[in-house]
């Protein structure tokens, strides 16, 4: 049985049929609020139930509960506020109860009923969500650049954004049907923002040993400079799966949402999203969604103990490395040998090699994967 959606009901706020035609016409008459692409993709996520049970952007009740207690106002676990920021200028003449048209990438994608307009404290948000106010943290910097007001209210999707990854985009309703059609009862979700090295592969395969299927769900969208570009990640995974995974046990689809780099809080957020896709289990590795030294290496695992009611089972997998004495990929739970035999896989070292156009050793990355990455002129975000 695939996992129940978070809150018990998969949200769908996608308009269709006559209602869509009517609302689309009406939307032309409404005041338009322009939003950036990374907020636009979250409008789609809300509409397609990726963020179930949310039906729109948070009002202050949910926002403050999430910020302080990591729960929605109905007590459901939720750790990252999903908010829409606007300036006073944007909402001039608007009041609570009004409807607006939401525009992104040059087209109206949704309408929204304004339930509440409220102020927020971006430093407080940073302190609580990112555990720091340091502007070197990419999430903090991005937060401080946002506008001074938030508007909360339900959205209804009337159009989709251009999607370069259409072929690899699945909605929760689709993955739920897909997993059932495949006969999978237990599915482990894997979140990633990296091209896969051997460590990732073995973490996934260790988890797959205990469940029916693996859902590899790379995050595509806004990321910080120096991270792999989306098309590189997707290409690298396609190559890896084609060459090294049992075909009937893996599904690869992207998740379009921005990275927040919120470490432990984001790990819970990622788990809830995968629960909505139907996953029963979720892999949490070392320093999940971390950046720099803002979070402890296993803090993102420890936070799961605060949520007995999450509804998805976290799998805490130790980091894999190559052991020359064992003669294979192992982790510290199963390898008794000392560090002199261990080849640790460093994502930073791998990126440095790739930047120089060097082929990483096969104890770190599959040759086919490395070749696919090196075939890109510049695999990293500038």
């Amino acid at each position: 049985m695939v996992s129940k959606p978070h809150g018990g009901r998969l949200i769908s706020r996608v308009l269709s049929g006559r209602k869509l035609d009517r609302i689309r016409e009406e939307a032309e008459e409404l005041k338009i609020i322009e939003i950036p692409l990374d907020v636009g993709v979250d409008v789609e996520n809300i509409a397609h139930g990726v963020f179930s049970p949310l039906e729109g952007f948070m009002t202050s009740d949910d926002y403050l509960n999430v910020l302080y207690y990591m729960r929605l106002s109905n007590d459901l676990p939720w750790t990252i506020p999903i908010t829409l920021d606007v300036s006073s200028e944007d909402i001039r003449g608007l009041k609570e109860g009004d409807e607006i048209a939401v525009k992104s990438e040059g087209k109206i994608i949704a309408i929204m009923s304004i339930e509440e307009i409220y102020r927020w404290d971006k430093r407080e948000y940073s302190r609580l969500v990112y555990k720091t106010e340091d502007i070197k943290h990419p999430g903090v910097l991005k937060t401080l650049q946002r506008k001074e007001l938030l508007i909360g209210g339900k959205i209804s999707l009337i159009d989709h954004l251009p999607n370069p990854y259409y072929r690899f985009t699945l909605r929760p309703v689709e993955t739920r049907i897909l997993f059932r059609e495949k006969g999978w009862k237990t599915i482990v979700g894997f979140q990633t923002r990296n091209a896969p090295h051997l460590g990732h592969e073995y973490v996934q395969k260790a988890a797959l040993t205990f469940v029916d299927g693996l859902f590899v769900n790379p995050l595509v969208g806004w990321k910080k400079r120096g991270d792999y570009r989306d098309e590189v990640i997707l290409t690298a995974y396609r190559v890896l799966i084609e060459n090294y995974y049992p075909k009937d046990s893996v599904v690869l689809a992207v998740l379009r949402t921005p990275m927040r780099y919120a470490g432990p809080r984001e790990a819970i957020h990622h788990a809830i999203i995968r629960k909505n896709f139907g996953c029963t289990h979720f892999i949490v590795g070392r320093d999940h969604a971390g950046v720099g030294n803002y979070y402890g290496p296993y803090e993102a695992q420890e936070i799961f103990y605060e949520f007995p009611d999450l509804g998805i089972i976290p799998l805490f997998v130790k980091e894999f490395f190559y052991c020359r004495k064992c003669g294979g990929m192992v982790n510290e739970k199963v390898c008794p040998h000392s560090s002199e035999f261990r080849v640790k896989i460093s994502g930073t070292a791998l990126r440095e090699m790739i930047k120089k156009g060097e082929m990483p050793p096969e104890t770190m990355m599959r040759r086919e994967v490395a070749e696919a990455i090196l075939s890109f002129k510049n695999p990293f975000i500038e």
Binding site: P5, R9, L10, E174, I177, P308, D309
Partner: protein, 73 residues
Amino acid sequence: MEERKYTTVSIPTTLYNRIKKIIEGTGFTSVSSFVTYVLREIAAAYEEEEEAEPFSEEERNKIIEKLRKLGYL
């Protein structure tokens, strides 16, 4: 933000004392935090899906067709 709201639930004193002993040396700072944790766990297990999946048989077939075209099935 105003302080979080709480309400009182009565449990037998004997149970209270038993839990007090159980949580000694654990991460739980009070009987209340332990009881909250356990109740959330149980509440989640009891909450059933409010309704069936939000798609008809026709929509399901359309999705299966799409999944086939994309190579997922």
